[in-house]
Symmetry: C2
Subunit: 339 residues, 2 copies
């Protein structure tokens, strides 16, 4: 019996906001694993903002996805055949390299085993995976928030942002979030325990709003968004503030170079640190981050929310929706094998 | 005998580049020190870029100089009368608080004794003073340059910039400078030992020039200037680069808010740290910095150059010339008492 692998390839490099026609569903036979390989039946695919930049043919930390190639993406699934010494049929595994497809053939590099008894396997793509580690190290390592400080998060209802605010609360900080919807603010404050938040789509005077919600100023800013929101935040930062640059989603669909107010003088006179990071730079410390996040999860100190779309064929739609900010929490695609 | 104190006060808040008419020479009687005070006859005054921002009535790390008040400034001189237990007549002393005047009355706060046998007393305003510590901590503490890395300095022929490049060389780095004059580049390379440099006034394609002079990319950028130079540098930074923001002299005379290209995505994908600082934040470690700089000076590993204008009445001209980039190295004003 030949199984069919349905996969999503990059059909065209998007101009501005991606369209469904920038992707193509392709069917190929599922290959058998060769020596040292394993075959994974994917249950959940993660769609994340970084993928938008991987679709662009510009210099970055990794080469772009080629036209006609399977879209890159982290996923979790079950090993259905293995000729790799580390993995056995039936193991649940996660990797950033499985891609947007129902079956992934892997040489085992960057693949880790996931314990389904510890937590639902989808958490390997969120709290106990890349977004969780991004929030953990991006906040704690880069910004070293101290109890009593005010931590502001942009993109605060997204996968990473929701965790950042909760970790800030665990550390005794005031957590304030910016997001694009009243439902998002309600979730953030009522469920995730943020102290305050505001819907940037209904506010014109960001500075006044920030002053009202952060009466002691802003000590830590975790930025997922950039653009006009970050422009408004910078003058409100306290002396010795720390800024963690996780993403700049507001500019990922820009089709021309964007201008903004110059702000480096603010950084000088307020002795501010601003640092960009990729979660990979904390590779050696993943164990620490995973253990801590798992403990907080068990203790009920972290809540999380998944937005789930079904079927590999709907991965482009899920991705575009995430870029448009339609989800709260982690946007996942649940494949047929998981049903 | 009543001595006369000639002092320079701020007569008007400059719009754009300061003019001599923004300052006023005022004569007052020299006061006798009261209990706990000392009177200093100033020999050298330092004029520095930070003073331009202190002339502006905008929020900053310190209140602005008031209209009619003596301009702030670091100076070195001789104690001519003391009723302060720590200082005796004849001592040489330095302080950031003496200001633009021939005689300074002080309560001793922020005043340190200078040993004239160790080095010429003017070095207390340069290599063994605030600019020296700015270069030392701003480069070594914030950027941690490693042997073999490329260190780029803007404003490289100014007081701080010339020291930054030399410290980078001592640490085994490639030192490259940007400055505004062929004579400055010649001094930088031939006397101060920089590996390379270029005159930004004669270059239109900064990116090409930077690629040619920094073939391994830029690991550390020490920025005194900002503006279009920094715009050009950022895309050339290597992954994990560190940027020390010391000053933004290109914008200090701006009369309207300035726009520039957004660049935070570069910081994210290259995991770059950018940090503003003020030398005061290293107050607790000044001894360490002073001892190291003095040792390098004794060992002949650091050269320095002073540009000297004579007479307190010419301090405004010296300051404006420094802002225009007319000096190489440290701009000082030598007062009558030192002749």
């Amino acid at each position: 019996m030949t199984r069919v692998n349905r996969r999503i390839t990059l059909a065209a490099r998007p101009l501005g906001m991606p369209k469904e026609s920038d992707f193509k569903l392709v069917e190929t036979p599922v290959a058998d694993p060769g020596d040292g390989e394993l075959l994974v039946e994917v249950h959940y695919l993660s769609v994340d903002p970084y993928m938008r930049r991987r679709m662009m043919d510009v210099p970055s930390y990794a080469p772009p996805v080629g036209l006609g190639e399977v879209m890159v993406g982290g996923a979790v699934g079950r090993v259905v055949a293995s000729r790799h010494p580390r993995f056995q049929e039936g193991d649940f595994v996660e990797s950033m390299n499985f891609g947007w497809q129902e079956y992934a053939l892997s040489n085992g590099r960057g693949v880790r085993t996931v314990d389904p008894k510890l937590a639902p396997i989808s958490t390997a793509l969120y709290v106990l995976g890349m977004p969780g580690m991004t929030a953990y190290f991006g906040l704690l390592d880069i910004c070293a928030p101290q109890a009593g400080e005010t931590v502001l998060v942009s993109g605060a209802a997204g996968a990473v942002g929701l965790l950042v605010g909760q970790i800030a609360k665990i550390r005794g900080c005031r957590a304030v979030g910016i997001a694009g919807g009243d439902d998002k603010i309600a979730y953030m404050v009522q469920e995730a325990g943020f102290d305050a938040g505001y819907n940037y789509k209904t506010v014109t005077d960001h500075a006044a709003k920030l002053r009202a919600l952060c009466p002691q100023g802003i000590d830590v800013y975790f930025d997922n968004v950039g653009g006009v929101i970050t422009d408004a935040v910078i003058p409100q930062l306290n002396p010795l503030a720390r800024v963690s640059l996780c993403g700049q989603i507001s500019s990922y669909n820009a089709t021309t170079p964007e201008l903004g107010p110059r702000f480096l003088t603010h950084l000088v006179i307020k002795q501010i640190k601003m640092q960009g990071f990729l979660v990979f730079q904390f590779q050696q410390r993943m164990q620490e981050g995973m253990q801590q996040m798992a403990q907080w999860l068990r203790e009920g100190k972290l809540v999380y929310r998944e937005s789930v779309v079904r079927g590999v064929e709907n991965a482009p739609r899920a991705f575009i929706g995430m870029l448009r900010g339609e989800n709260i929490g982690k946007q996942l695609v649940k494949f047929a094998a998981a049903q």
